[in-house]
């Protein structure tokens, strides 16, 4: 006897994906509908922004950032893109290409910053100059430049493609170490304050698997290869651990993160350093900081004066470590 193919929960057409956490299968059309509904629910539940706001979407060329940009535009929001060239060899060249094509095909406005051209360094060089893992310099550079571009461009909010897996993994790591300051700030919306723009994560109700499937059925071409610098990082290990739990108990990731937001986050309100009024201004660039000189200015100073480091050198060191 031949088994019946899975059917879409909504229309009974052949399904393209099974989503155990919803105990359901979906066809392409209803998968897209599910993703849009979940994004709209997150925007409404956490009071992120309205269609009158100008949004700046931080795009990397990966599935999540291109998907959120696509979903926002399709839902009638005003959203421009911001891409930062990180100088991670071929990976950055490919990523930039996906972003450029996405924006061009849809006639969307894209702002581009290049770390090497605009700030005199790249991520491999910063990793060597600071003697820290590449992800550290990468994250710091992106956060500062997204903030600056949003404030300079008069945008109402920065939008990032952080999804449920990203947030659950960060929450897992912060909980393992009881990082109360970080836990108090791990919210899907951070309001604008002291020179920081408002920051929103509309994909927090959607998993990575759902976002990748969304891109496939919408025909969005994205960089599938993992960043070579990220291989073996702690964040990936947390995701694997959470996925092992999810396999045994579908819906666990969502319950872990969303129940944190509804039950735990209110108890942590006011516990972050920023909420306690410890943030001042960087004496060099004026950016908000807890020290005299912000971490980004210190990074630019160290890395910008360092001889350029080829990506292969950092990768070789990285591979030896893992």
């Amino acid at each position: 006897m031949t088994a019946q193919p899975s059917r879409c929960r909504s229309c009974k057409a052949p399904a393209v994906i099974d989503l155990p956490r919803h105990n359901a299968n979906f066809c392409a059309e209803h998968l897209v509908q599910l993703c849009n509904r979940q994004m709209i629910k997150a925007i409404a539940d956490f009071d992120m922004f309205s269609r009158a706001d100008r949004l700046l979407v931080a795009v990397s060329g990966g599935k999540d950032s291109l998907a959120v940009w696509d979903m926002l535009i399709e839902s009638g929001y005003q959203a421009d893109g911001l891409y930062i060239g990180l100088g991670i060899g071929e990976y950055s060249e490919d990523s930039g290409g996906y972003v450029q094509r996405f924006a061009h095909e849809r006639n969307l406005h894209l702002v581009t910053i290049d770390l090497r051209e605009d700030y005199g360094y790249d991520v491999p060089t910063a990793a060597v100059a600071t003697k820290r893992v590449p992800c550290s310099a990468c994250g710091l550079s992106k956060r500062r430049l997204f903030d600056k571009a949003a404030v300079d461009g008069g945008y109402d909010a920065v939008v990032t493609g952080h999804n449920l897996d990203d947030e659950a993994a960060v929450l897992f790591g912060n909980t393992l170490r009881w990082e109360v300051d970080y836990l108090a700030r791990q919210l899907p919306v951070l309001e604008a304050r002291d020179g920081f723009p408002k920051k929103c994560k509309p994909l927090v109700r959607l998993t990575e698997r759902e976002m990748a499937a969304y891109c496939l059925v919408r025909g969005i071409d994205y960089v599938v290869e993992e960043c070579p610098m990220a291989a073996g990082n702690r964040h990936l290990g947390y995701k694997e651990a959470l996925n092992a739990i999810e396999k045994q108990s579908p819906g666990s990731k969502s319950a872990f993160y969303l129940n944190f937001l509804s039950k735990m986050a209110p108890l942590l309100d006011g516990q972050s350093a920023a909420a306690q009024g410890e943030v001042g201004e960087c004496e060099r660039c004026g950016a908000p900081t807890t020290g005299d000189v912000c971490a980004f200015c210190r990074l630019v100073e160290k890395s910008g004066t360092h001889e350029a480091v080829p990506v292969e050198m950092v990768l070789k060191k990285h591979r030896r470590r893992h």
Partner: protein, 64 residues
């Protein structure tokens, strides 16, 4: 059937006659961390795969 894997990119030959979920289990890959594309089309976990299929196993986890 031909199975294309990523990170690193490679191609292996695997006998058909098994489901998507079974293929992922046999390859020791997490169902939550991968999608299966059969002959260019996304398919759910209980789909039966044939010897003549070309399968892409697409990882969905990113480390950022």
């Amino acid at each position: 059937m031909k199975v294309l894997l990523r990170n690193p990119k490679r191609e292996i030959e695997v006998p058909g006659g098994r489901s998507v979920n079974r293929l992922l289990d046999d390859l020791e890959l997490s169902r939550e961390a991968h999608l299966i594309i059969r002959n260019g089309t996304l398919v759910p976990g209980d789909t039966r795969l044939d010897d003549t299929d070309v399968i892409e196993v697409r990882p969905v986890i990113s480390g950022g």
